[in-house]
Symmetry: C2
């Protein structure tokens, strides 16, 4: 089969790879309908993480082709959305709502899903079947649920976005934009999107942002405070993962408020003193997407939300290299690969 | 009046100070019955914070002598317990349960309460009257409620200690020991105290600890995991404030679990990556003691808890210097000053 590998930093190739096979009785093999390029794929692409001939991709939707003997919740022929972390669904951590920290988790980025087929470990804890074969226009939104929507949603839930709350979102990538959508869906009264890119601002407003803050760092914090009676937002979603964005997120939150941080942290060191005296609740990490997936699929299936709008570039699998390049150069917010 | 000042690091003196006066109509003046030396008083004592002739102390119980014209909830002659942060009780942050981050807060350590009298700003938001004049044997416990009990209690609440939960407590000072007591009162099933001091271990067991872990650092984390099916505790209270203790606390918590950190952080830098992949809830800061004070006073008044047991040295105010020395040399866990 054809699949994407990162040969070396900056060098994306589409190659002939071995077809995946059932290894464990809990596996499924899916034919991938669409996959995408994630902001987190850019870390190895930019050489921040070492890599050599790494199969890429961890977001995917597709059709089940084969299941292992222990799989009971999906069957061949079904269209499925999968999460970017495979989880057994049965351990105490999964049952407590954190399948992305499952004791037997497998990061799908280690498996690779930017390919014609993929082996999905822990199929029962990882895949959710849609009510039927989706219309073509629903595919991007279902694909978004696999990671960026689920991650933005977790950010908003971790930040306790809800009725009566003012929510600020740091980061205007696909995850940040979908955290705006999530905050509104969860009933937030005000949603402040922090962005300085016009097209992303527009999408944030379409997704429900009630205010845009273009300032960053301390100036951004001051602006959020100005919009919240001097106190800071009740809920802040951090969707970047840098030192500056974390400081901006914590600084924008009122004492007793909640920060949900979902940008994969790189070289971030949080001052204990600052955290102590900020007195904010903090929760982050790889999003437990599986917890939200049935609800997200339902919202998409009923066309109540359209998260697929974050994809602003669609390319066939063979042109994956151009997709990485466009993301890296910020010419695209999010790239969908059709397979 | 007589009062304690820290003349310079390591140099505690009892001096003649000006009698306090009502300044704001929301002030009260109290005659201090008892005060204490806090672990956090040791930071300036050890020269970690700069100081010169600083009035000391922020924990206190006493009798109201005079009130400002706007004070309505306490009156002269009443015995009161006060919190270590004065708060207006009316701002949005106070009403949301975080009076220690009140927009008009005054840290009582800036006022000083190791003295015969003290001015209490925001009396209505800071003082709580007891049902009557307490028996002498209740004074230590009521005094503990002013900070160490309230802080340990907040740590346990922030860590979401409760029925069915396994709670680990890092730190065996007065706050850590009272976090053990709090965790049990809140219904925790198992309480693991991390301590290597025999007398403190014994008090932890009296307060409800079900297991003692003497190991520290990575070994301590491994031991807590061994006691919790390999997963880590549901709830961990951090009551020290160092880099090692914070790492130990976060490492001892299962994914999706809760860390309440109440040790005042000094030179702590938390790795964003570690926090991200730990996927724990984090909440800390100066304890919002006022939120818990009515309940704590009630439990003490009914003799259901005896937090005053943490005081293992009692001295008259004039001997305050010896109290600091005993705490600094770890000859005493917690020192009560009678006035």
């Amino acid at each position: 089969m054809r699949g994407v590998v990162l040969h070396a930093p900056g060098d994306v190739r589409v190659r002939e790879l071995d077809d995946p096979k059932i290894i464990e009785p809990t596996d499924a093999i899916i034919r991938v309908t669409a996959a995408c390029v994630c902001g987190s794929d850019l870390w190895p692409y930019r050489g921040v993480e070492e890599v050599h001939d790494q199969p890429m991709g961890h977001e995917y939707v597709g059709v089940v082709e084969e299941i292992g003997s222990d799989v009971t919740t999906v069957k061949p022929g079904q269209f499925v959305v999968g999460t970017f972390v495979a989880a057994d669904g049965t351990c105490e951590i999964c049952r407590s709502g954190f399948p992305s920290s499952c004791v037997d988790r497998v990061f799908m980025s280690e498996v690779g899903t930017q390919s014609e087929r993929a082996r999905i470990p822990h199929a029962d804890g990882t895949l959710v079947a849609t009510p039927g074969m989706p219309d073509a226009d629903l595919i991007p939104s279902l694909l978004a649920a696999s990671d960026v929507l689920g991650t933005g949603w977790f950010g908003a839930v971790a930040a306790q976005a809800g009725p009566g709350k003012t929510v600020a979102v740091v980061g205007d990538g696909a995850v940040g934009l979908l955290a705006v959508l999530a905050a509104r869906q969860l009933g937030a009264e005000q949603v402040i999107a922090m962005s300085r890119h016009r097209t992303r601002q527009e999408l944030a407003v379409e997704f429900g942002a009630t205010a845009i803050v273009t300032e960053r760092g301390e100036e951004g914090v001051a602006k959020v405070k100005e919009l919240t009676g001097g106190l800071g937002a009740h809920s802040v979603v951090e969707a970047v993962g840098t030192q500056q964005s974390m400081r901006q997120a914590i600084g924008s939150t009122r004492p007793g408020g909640h920060v949900g941080f979902v940008g994969v942290s790189h070289d971030v060191a949080l001052s204990g003193e600052n955290l102590f005296f900020s007195q904010v609740h903090l929760l982050g990490g790889p999003a437990p997407v599986r917890r939200f997936l049935p609800e997200l699929i339902d919202l998409i299936w009923q066309r109540k939300i359209d998260p697929g709008r974050v994809f602003d570039l669609r390319l066939p699998l063979e042109e994956a290299a151009e997709g990485y390049k466009a993301m890296d150069e910020r010419r695209a917010t999010k790239v969908l690969l059709t397979i």
